[in-house]
């Protein structure tokens, strides 16, 4: 499955508020379910998420169980300069994924 869908308006005017939306393919296994043999299925969720805009922190979040599989995240930032938005998240297996979106900002 495609791992991530990111939606950001890529051409912006300075001062404009814009939304960053992500859908991440992830099982978000809560650690509370059992398989058909009665064994607990190990927890595997995205536990950290952060987003920077030209190295400035926009959002940092700690995630907990009880978030559905394939989570949807949305938040806002304000356009300042042309540059990159970098989103990074880590799951319980220690897998780190980074996605980058370039935006162009005009005066």
């Amino acid at each position: 499955m495609a791992r991530t869908l990111i939606n950001v308006k890529k051409t912006l005017t300075r001062g404009e508020a814009f939304e960053i939306r992500l859908l991440i393919a992830h099982p978000m296994e809560s650690g509370q379910r059992r398989d058909s043999n009665g064994q607990v299925i190990a927890r595997d969720i995205i536990n950290r998420f952060s987003c920077t805009y030209n190295d400035m922190l926009v959002l940092e979040a700690t995630l907990f169980p009880a978030i559905s599989a394939n989570p949807y995240l949305s938040f806002w930032a304000v356009a300042t300069e042309t540059g990159s938005i970098v989103m990074t998240w880590t799951d319980d297996h220690g897998t780190v994924q980074t996605e980058r979106v370039e935006v162009t900002v005009s005066a």
Binding site: M1, A2, N7, L23, S68, A69, N70, Y72
Partner: protein, 232 residues
């Protein structure tokens, strides 16, 4: 308001089928209305990749050429003498590695027909399959001794537990179902309904399932393709 009046004026004597979209609840509808929030689009993206990597594009060109195709399936195959689903049509001329890949292809191909009215051709030699599917739809089965029609014709709009009973149309499949936390096929949905009345589900690829799905497609005439829909 004007729309409402127009609808009242032109509403035909024969009942227009009602999409399951309308019974899915506001949260599911909001997800379906926004492609950036609909998790099914993770599979759509995968389908686009597979369209290239499995060589579909080599013969068919851009996936956009598939516009209208999903609206015509299941389609009666005169050579085989039975209706074939879109999945079967693909699988019979091209190997698709696994069922997740097939779902992804069905999602991206179905999406090309979004908004087009279903156009299942039940004329001529196809008619007996339609009639066979219709008979299955009305046949009581299982320990609960219920036919599809008991719920989806007679009790549509009423509640079963927490869920509104929809009319049971296939126009949004494959769907992202929140309960499954995944994209799932029409066959998966039908298995749940059959198991729900404590009957034995028809085997995938069986003649019965093919006829039933063919009937469901024709029964939904008047609805448009909504693939990939979202259900609770």
């Amino acid at each position: 308001m004007i729309w409402l009046l127009l609808l009242l004026l032109v509403s035909p004597a024969q009942a227009q089928p009602r999409s399951g979209y309308l019974d899915a609840g506001p949260d599911s509808r909001a997800m379906q209305d926004d492609d950036t929030a609909n998790p099914a689009f993770l599979w759509v993206e995968q389908g686009k990749v597979l369209w290239g990597s499995l060589g579909c594009g080599g013969c068919h060109g851009d996936v956009a050429t598939m516009r209208g195709v999903a609206a015509r399936y299941p389609k009666y195959d005169a050579v085989l003498g039975r209706p074939v689903s879109l999945a079967r049509r693909i699988a019979t001329h091209r190997a698709v590695p696994d069922s997740e890949d097939m779902l992804a292809l069905l999602a991206v191909i179905g999406l090309q027909s979004r908004g087009l009215p279903l156009a299942i051709d039940i004329s001529g030699p196809a008619r007996p399959s339609y009639e066979a599917g219709k008979a299955l739809f009305h046949r009581r089965q299982g320990q609960l001794n219920l036919a599809c029609a008991n719920c989806h014709d007679d009790l549509a709009g009423r509640h079963l537990g927490g869920a509104v009973i929809p009319e049971g149309h296939p126009n949004g499949y494959p769907i992202y179902r929140l309960e499954w936390q995944a994209l799932g096929s029409l066959e998966r949905r039908l298995r749940q309904c059959v198991v729900g009345v404590r009957a034995v589900p028809w085997a995938d690829g069986s003649r019965e399932l093919a006829d039933l799905e063919f009937f469901l497609g024709a029964r939904a005439a008047g609805l448009v393709v909504e693939t990939p829909a979202v259900r609770p």
